[in-house]
Symmetry: C2
């Protein structure tokens, strides 16, 4: 509390990201990073940016990123907006498209940054309950609203919504913007990008932090009708004309272009996820059928927070949320096969019944 703060500052509760430990010997399965490195072609392209040209401002419009995405989806560059990570893109969306008299709707179990944005921009919101099985309940979004947003697949459950259900929602909800946060879509859910041409109120947000192994570079983007993208450009250009560095623009372009590498690593993550899910189920966990690069699971006989602490003592970090409905779950990032084996081995030790001697 400080007399100099804007009144708003007293009312905000910042988002708490997962721990970024500075120790190298931990098995880090807590922030959904990709266990595989970026494409060698990305590293090569980034090398080209280590040059005297760093003295010059980057392209304020990130045209190269927009061009490659537009070509990939048979859209125009005006359908694309690029930002400094998808969190920044989401922030601009909340401010530019979701601030209305009516409340924004999102699931009560979802990405915990959404209510934080609402407090930052003084936007009313209403949480729509997920089903007993933690699925997003599409029929719960029929009330009047100032916008709808959810991740697909949802975080931290990993549960997807089908494109048919998305279309059902869009057909009914024409008066406000529908934002699909597809941070994890590349690991097996159906993307709604093909619906952008049909629905002028649809915005799809994606990131290079997960499936493209570039969390350290900070690039995310939105795809939607050019008029919606214009709103984001206006806010961006009233905030920071150059959100993407030269490295971000070049690295993102190269990553999006290397489809083979992307395909290979995402398939490997999917395979490991599905094997890990089976093994956890064999150990007695209830495992949600994830379409993301993490698994959300609970054990009927073990407290989730205790499990997370005991894993940490064995140098494995996973994420636990002290939140209603999910406090007995662990969110476990899909690592390499070897990291997942280490996790399973640590869990085997932890779950072993006490000897009867």
């Amino acid at each position: 509390m400080n007399q100099y703060w804007s009144p708003l500052v007293h009312n905000i509760t910042p988002y708490t990201p997962g721990e970024q430990p500075k120790l190298d010997n931990l098995i880090k399965l807590n922030t959904n990073e990709n266990p595989y490195p970026p494409s060698p072609k990305v590293l090569e392209a980034l090398r080209g940016e280590i040059a005297d040209s760093l003295r010059l401002y980057p392209d304020p419009n990130a045209d190269r990123v927009k061009a490659v995405l537009a070509a990939m989806h048979a859209l125009t560059p005006q359908h694309i907006f690029a930002g400094n990570g998808s969190d920044e893109v989401l922030a601009f969306i909340f401010q530019a498209l979701l601030k209305h008299d009516r409340p924004v709707l999102f699931p009560d179990v979802t990405y915990s940054f959404y209510p934080v944005y609402c407090r930052l921009y003084e936007i009313k919101y209403q949480a729509v309950p997920v089903t007993a099985g933690l699925d997003i309940n599409i029929d719960g979004y029929q009330c009047q609203n100032g916008g709808i947003i959810f991740p697909n697949p949802n975080a931290p459950t990993g549960l997807p919504v089908s494109r048919a259900d998305i279309e059902r929602l869009l057909a009914r909800n024409t008066e406000s913007v529908v934002v699909l946060d597809e941070a994890y879509v590349d690991f097996g859910a159906e993307s709604s990008v093909p619906l952008v041409q049909k629905y002028p109120n649809l915005v799809v947000v994606q990131t290079l932090s997960k499936a493209y192994s570039l969390a350290g570079l900070r690039v995310g983007f939105a795809i939607g009708h050019p008029e919606l993208m214009e709103a984001l450009e206006r806010v961006k250009n009233s905030f920071n004309s150059y959100p993407l560095s030269r490295f971000a623009i070049t690295g993102a372009t190269a990553a999006l272009e290397d489809r083979d590498y992307f395909e290979k690593t995402r398939q490997q993550v999917i395979r490991t996820r599905d094997t890990l899910g089976l093994r956890l189920a064999e150990m007695g966990f209830s495992v949600l059928p994830s379409k993301a690069n993490f698994i959300f699971a609970r054990h009927p006989y073990h407290n989730a927070r205790d499990l997370a602490e005991r894993l940490r003592k064995r140098s494995v970090i996973v994420r636990h949320f002290s939140l209603p409905k999910i406090e007995q779950y662990l969110r476990i990032t899909v690592g390499t096969d070897r990291q997942c084996a280490a996790l399973l081995s640590a869990l085997t030790e932890i779950l072993a019944p006490p000897s009867l001697s």
Copy 2:
């Protein structure tokens, strides 16, 4: 105009940055970039980030950047806030520290992003007239206010305010935050960082885009009382937890550490600026005594917009602002000696009197 836009979007007028031309053969003296490359040590450090670790999120707190700045100024890391370019830092400052019932004060001739931030965050502002000589009039800031902000040296004039005048202002203005935007301070003005320990309402903003030759990397920072920095952290962590990429953190740290290179290049820019100013004066220009890496000058007999257009035809771009009080000025970035010679040569051609034959 679009039914889906937040009402705010209709009312904002984004900042227009200087042109970033994609042609290589232009002499680019329009956006105040440093004509010298970044330190070789910066390039070397950046090379180390081209690695598999790009798959991991960066340190959300940019602790290394804070540590080097704290050590440099005998302050603590809690006195430092780091952002994705000083424009982002300024945006957070407007939202976190300058949004009050009373209007923010800034000069009527100044960085044209300030009124843009005010519209974005719906902050009232009042422009305080500069003097007839375009100097900031410190005595004009005595009214009740919600904050005071100006660049020192001012943009686009390059005119500095002395530390004694800053202290006079701070001594009188204790009820609101005073923000000094020192983007250009390294080219000869007096920094107010040494006043931070004395005044709990002072925030100094600096950037690596100018004197450190890193406009393409996107790093800026604020220095001030830890409680003021906490307000910025709260807003940042409600907007984007990871504004600085791995490249930004590493490049900034290396740049701040290499004091010798910094000293050498800034002195060279200062020398070239002062020579360029003399030459322009010899050609009949009225040249303001700049302490920045640009020169603000007008010619009594030549229209500024025409001059800018005729320079551009000769492949030299400078900046012209169609704004009251300064529409007859050109803002000319200090380039290398060779670039400045090319500018002078082009101006000589343009200004040559028509032959009397």
